[in-house]
């Protein structure tokens, strides 16, 4: 019996010591993850998004955000004046497009679906394969992508510089000197960081309003975070781990498959792996996945229920879920509760060309 008492005392002591260590270490920053640079797997509750972090090199101002917004909606950034960022990232289509993949300049189609610009501010890496480290860097890409806006940076700068109203706006934001691509990108990125969800019915629930979700939606949340393992990858306030997973989608062109993250890392484990997109606002932007192959949330959930697709590099987190019909309906209902109620996300009207700077 004395041994038990001793053991209990020891156990308590040990754990107390551990508690001490834990609280000391809590202040320490966790080591960065190789390649990805997102948070370590720790407490990763679903919840409201924290305030956006603006990079020190690109502090926001209302003039900059306004300029960025105009540039974002301005088709004159493209080679033939027909395509703006909003063509493929349309606020009315959940900041994406009708898909399955995007139609760019001269009716050309790319191989991938346009991910949402809304809440992209929280994504540690941009693009399906994470090849771009920031929104600033990302924004320069589409302009000179031959199948997106088909322009050159020089030609785009010429066009923008020739518009009187832009000249004065750039001067007000960035000071005198010629307009640069970096400035264009900075302004667009600053605008994109305002397209964030601070309010949704889920967020209201997470902040304590118990009536913000229906019974079915609450069940959906429970399943999302339980039996369906969705939070295995779609975790934290951004509903994404920022990592890359292979869900086993069949390649559209087997001879020339989309290698995904592998193109960036050349690591065979990343073959066919794509970035986990946020589930926020997903209901507003069908179809789904990097190739737009799932037309509805219902079919997407059936896909997960089967354990995803096939392939040698299928993520080990993909397992059949055994969801009942009611559970699938609950998941869909829950995903819909993630639709943003912020006017700057949910209710943005693309300005007409004549309302843009001239």
């Amino acid at each position: 019996m004395r041994r038990i008492v001793l053991f209990a005392a020891l156990l308590v002591g040990l754990l107390a010591a551990a508690a001490g260590t834990a609280s000391i270490l809590a202040g320490q920053k966790a080591p960065p993850i190789t390649q990805v640079g997102v948070q370590v797997l720790g407490p990763q509750r679903l919840g409201p998004l924290p305030p956006v972090v603006h990079p020190p090199g690109n502090p926001p101002s209302s003039a900059k955000i306004q300029l960025g917004k105009e540039l974002y909606f301005d088709p004159r950034l493209s080679a033939d004046g027909t395509i703006s960022c909003a063509t493929c990232h349309d606020p009315a289509l959940g900041w994406s497009d009708k898909g399955p993949t995007s139609e760019g300049i001269h009716g050309q189609f790319g191989g991938r679906r346009a991910p949402p610009v809304s809440n992209a501010a929280y994504s540690p890496l941009q693009f399906w394969d994470g090849r771009s480290p920031s929104l600033e860097d990302q924004a320069k890409g589409p302009i000179q992508n031959p199948i997106e806006m088909g322009n050159t940076h020089e030609a785009m700068i010429q066009t923008v510089s020739a518009i009187g109203a832009y000249q004065s706006e750039f001067k007000a934001v960035f000071g005198t000197g010629p307009i640069t691509v970096d400035q264009v990108a900075d302004a667009i990125a600053a605008f994109e960081r305002t397209v964030v969800t601070t309010d949704s019915r889920f967020d209201r629930y997470a902040r304590g309003d118990h009536n913000a979700l229906t019974k079915l939606e609450k069940e959906g949340l429970e399943i999302f975070n339980g039996k369906a393992h969705c939070t295995g990858c779609h975790w934290g306030p951004y509903f994404s781990d920022g990592r890359f997973h292979n869900l086993g989608l069949p390649p559209k062109d087997p001879k020339n498959p989309d290698v995904g993250r592998y193109a960036v890392t050349k690591d065979h484990r990343d073959m066919g792996a794509f970035k986990t997109p946020t589930v926020r606002d997903a209901a507003r932007r069908p179809p789904y996945l990097h190739d737009g192959s799932e037309k509805t949330l219902e079919s997407l959930i059936d896909f997960y229920d089967k354990g995803g697709g096939k392939g040698p590099n299928l993520d080990p987190l993909m397992v059949p879920l055994g969801l009942a019909r009611h559970e699938k309906a609950a998941l869909v209902a829950f995903i819909k509760s993630l639709d943003s109620l912020n006017p700057e996300v949910a209710d943005v009207k693309a300005p007409a060309l004549r309302d843009l700077p001239h």
């Binding site: 260590t21 370590v40 797997l41 679903l46 069940e219 339980g226 559970e327």
Partner: protein
């Protein structure tokens, strides 16, 4: 005895106070902010995801290296206890009462990339109490104090093909886990059964070393080298060995999806005489006249929707020196279990199960034959990540022995708390 309990409760209370934020959350669920059904079909039975997590050394598969360690999170402590009411009947007589059936203190987590631990302590529960003067007079505790598990796992030594577990752990041949069984009162009978004179317990967690791993497609192995004496110090120079192989067809791990079959074999030695003056500081003795025994069997797990049909059986031979009934013969027996589980309601809030256990001793043994029919219903009050409470009702009808068989009925309704 009261002092022990006071000490334990003080300890437990201190833990709760110390762990504050950690309070009332099973360690892993808390770490990932998920609810129990992320890893369990329904607590405590693992689903495929949970099985992969366990196989990967308590790290999210494919994400090792990015886990918060046990030092970076609130202390990973969890408790499990169950208390309730039992009604027992045999031969027209009945007895009933409230009981505490068990209490586990668990701690588990990642220490460093691919190094993790699991620690489970069960305090002694004296029920009936030690100062009780009835039939058992406290000699028959509801639970023995033991370090159920204390193992360190080194994972992914050669990718997922080699993981090593050292310490006291649940051996890999227990694919039908006696620890993560829904039934709280009815065990897998055959696991605990051995020759009349043998102290070997197939269901015990064992001290030693085990290698596990998996190969495509769906082939897994576990190879162990252990004392074979459960929580007790070793009692001979010989160690026991086992090998278990399983193969899953289709997706999943055979826990909640996919179909799995497995085979296992266990070869052990036990001393039959213990006269040796040498006792090591660890309590090991060098028992003499070692005789061997073996178990060989298989298991199967079939899944359809949320139905899971499991079966397991083995054939056992214990050396004649363990046979008190007929010392001229090896003690040979076999037995097994068939279990059908079902989960329903959103997030598997409701679980039902039917189970049949049987033990078939040699014909001349007329007391150890067992047929046990069990049924169970569990309803989970919530799926929070902080705490889980299940209302649990379990029934067993058990018939033991052949000549004048003992028939027993046990109905138990209890609350299973996990926090």
């Amino acid at each position: 005895m009261k002092r022990t309990l006071t000490a334990l409760f003080t300890g437990a209370f201190a833990l709760l106070v110390l762990s504050q934020a950690a309070l009332a959350i099973p360690a892993f669920a808390r770490k990932y902010g998920a609810n129990c059904s992320q890893c369990h079909v329904a607590f405590p039975k693992l689903n495929d995801w949970g099985q992969r997590f366990r196989d990967n050394g308590y790290q999210v598969p494919g994400q090792q290296g990015s886990e918060k360690t046990a030092f970076e999170t609130a202390i990973p402590v969890a408790f499990r206890t169950n208390a309730g009411y039992s009604l027992y009947g045999t031969g027209g007589q009945t007895a009933s009462g409230f009981h505490i059936y068990g209490l586990d203190l668990l701690s588990a987590g990642v220490l460093h990339k691919n190094i993790s631990y699991l620690f489970v302590y069960t305090p002694r529960i004296d029920e009936p109490a030690a100062d009780y003067n009835g039939p058992a007079a406290g000699d028959n505790p509801a639970q023995l104090a033991a370090i159920e598990s204390a193992a360190v796992v080194f994972s992914n030594i050669i990718r997922d093909k080699l993981n090593i577990r050292i310490g006291r752990f649940e051996p890999g041949f227990q694919l039908l886990s006696s620890k993560r069984l829904y039934y709280i009162l009815q065990p897998y009978e055959i696991y605990g059964f051995a020759g009349t004179h043998s102290s070997f317990d197939f269901s015990a967690s064992q001290i030693g070393i085990e290698a596990t791993g998996r190969f495509k497609p769906g082939l897994k192995y576990a190879l162990g080298y252990i004392n074979g004496t459960g929580a007790n110090p070793d009692n001979n120079r010989w160690n026991d060995v086992y090998l278990a192989l399983s193969k899953t067809f289709g997706r999943g791990e055979g826990q909640s999806a996919g179909q799995r079959i497995g085979v296992f074999g266990y070869l052990g030695w036990q001393p039959t005489t213990f006269v040796d003056p040498i006792v090591s500081p660890g309590g090991d003795i060098n028992g003499k006249d070692n005789r061997n025994f073996y178990r060989i069997g298989g298991d199967i797990s079939l899944n359809w929707h949320t139905f899971n049909l499991q079966g397991m059986g083995f054939y056992a031979v214990d050396d004649r020196d363990f046979n008190d009934l007929d010392p001229a013969l090896d003690y040979k027996f076999w037995g097994g279990v068939v279990q059908l589980d079902w989960a329903g309601l959103p997030n598997n809030r409701l679980v039902g199960s039917l189970m049949f256990n049987w033990v078939r001793p040699p014909g001349y043994d007329d007391v150890h034959k067992v047929d046990a029919y069990s049924a169970l219903v569990r309803y989970y009050l919530g799926s929070w990540s902080a705490v889980n409470i299940a209302i649990h009702a379990e029934f067993t009808h058990r018939v033991a022995g052949t000549i004048g068989p003992v028939r027993e009925d046990l109905v138990t309704i209890l609350l299973d708390f996990d926090f």
